[in-house]
Symmetry: C2
Subunit: 206 residues, 2 copies
């Protein structure tokens, strides 16, 4: 029983991952309400019984899928941006990373915004998950702007967050990745105006 228990646990983790993978793909492509639990079941290749053992209700599945997506999304962003040498380069790299994301063939906007629009008015957990995600992204931008040594880093971070947010929804609706380029150009203007120089800290901060 101990051996089978451990095996089941491992299998459970792998099944959970497969289920979340399928849920992510389906919910993102078609919306949450348009995808039945049966579609998730058959895409993940598990039985309905097992699906409900691992996720007792659809809302739980949605919550866990959003939480996992949040971590994966921000991890990928941070990994990409933190590879750049300076805070300024890291901030601009955010828009390069967005560009790559927008160019993916199945890109359909931010899943948190999509889910918020669909369920935010009804489901408190979904609304909170979306809010938490956006706040975490903004906090990361705040870290980067603070590292530039600029005078008002939080205000600058908010403005850059607006550009990134706008680029995401614009790319989703237009079907073009251009908004990431436009956002990057605008971000450079804002960074220059705030006194963030190309290399290191501010030179002419008087």
């Amino acid at each position: 029983m101990a051996a089978t228990g451990a095996g089941s646990e491992r299998d459970g983790e792998r099944a959970k991952a497969r289920i979340l993978d399928s849920a992510e793909e389906l919910f993102y492509a078609r919306g949450v309400q348009a995808v039945g639990m049966d579609a998730v079941r058959s895409a993940a290749g598990v039985s309905l019984k097992r699906l409900y053992q691992l996720f007792p209700a659809k809302e739980r599945l949605v919550e866990e899928f959003l939480r996992r997506r949040d971590h994966a999304w921000r991890d990928a962003l941070v990994r990409y941006a933190d590879a750049r040498p300076t805070p300024r380069a890291r901030l601009l790299a955010v828009f390069d990373w967005l560009y790559q994301w927008f160019a993916e063939p199945d890109f359909r906007g931010c899943v948190f915004i999509n889910c918020f629009g669909e369920l935010g008015g009804t489901s408190q957990p979904v609304a909170k998950a979306a809010r938490d995600h956006k706040e975490a992204v903004r906090a990361y931008l705040g870290e980067l702007t603070t590292a530039t040594g600029v005078a008002a880093p939080q205000q600058l971070a908010s403005q850059l967050a607006l550009l990134a947010e706008g680029a995401i929804t614009t790319a989703a609706l237009s079907g073009s990745a251009d908004s990431a380029r436009e956002g990057r150009v605008a971000a450079e203007v804002l960074l220059n105006a705030a006194g963030v120089r190309e290399q290191g800290a501010a030179h002419c901060n008087d």
Copy 2:
């Protein structure tokens, strides 16, 4: 029969308006799929038969509601912004108008983004309606930036559109209208950098 016909037509127009009013309120607050035709029916105070006479299917109701909302939304924006004396003031007034909108008690983001997230992956008409709306807004911003006489008005308009777009979704998710203020400050920086002066056309355009 002619008299009753005219009366019915007038009644039909008024019933249609009432139905679209109710649909707008309900779809915006709860999402499209979460609101049944019966809820629209009872909110509008018409019979199901009449509802289906005027809108043969739910998708038609959604399309007409989005089209009407697009016109009303842009009309209100243009009326507000065009009251300002200069192109620069008109561009900045966009963010003032957004601030007022965000502060409305039942504000829940852009209905086109919400509907796109919910139905854009499934319904082509909804996706097109959302795209058309955003393009029309961007075109209006393009008119305003062109009127400033700046060198690259379309690029500036795109950047301002990103700010406005980002402000909308940020306000929806955070529940705060602050993003409109942040967007306005960023817009001023972009306008200054593009050479849009406080009064009239460019002074130092050589």
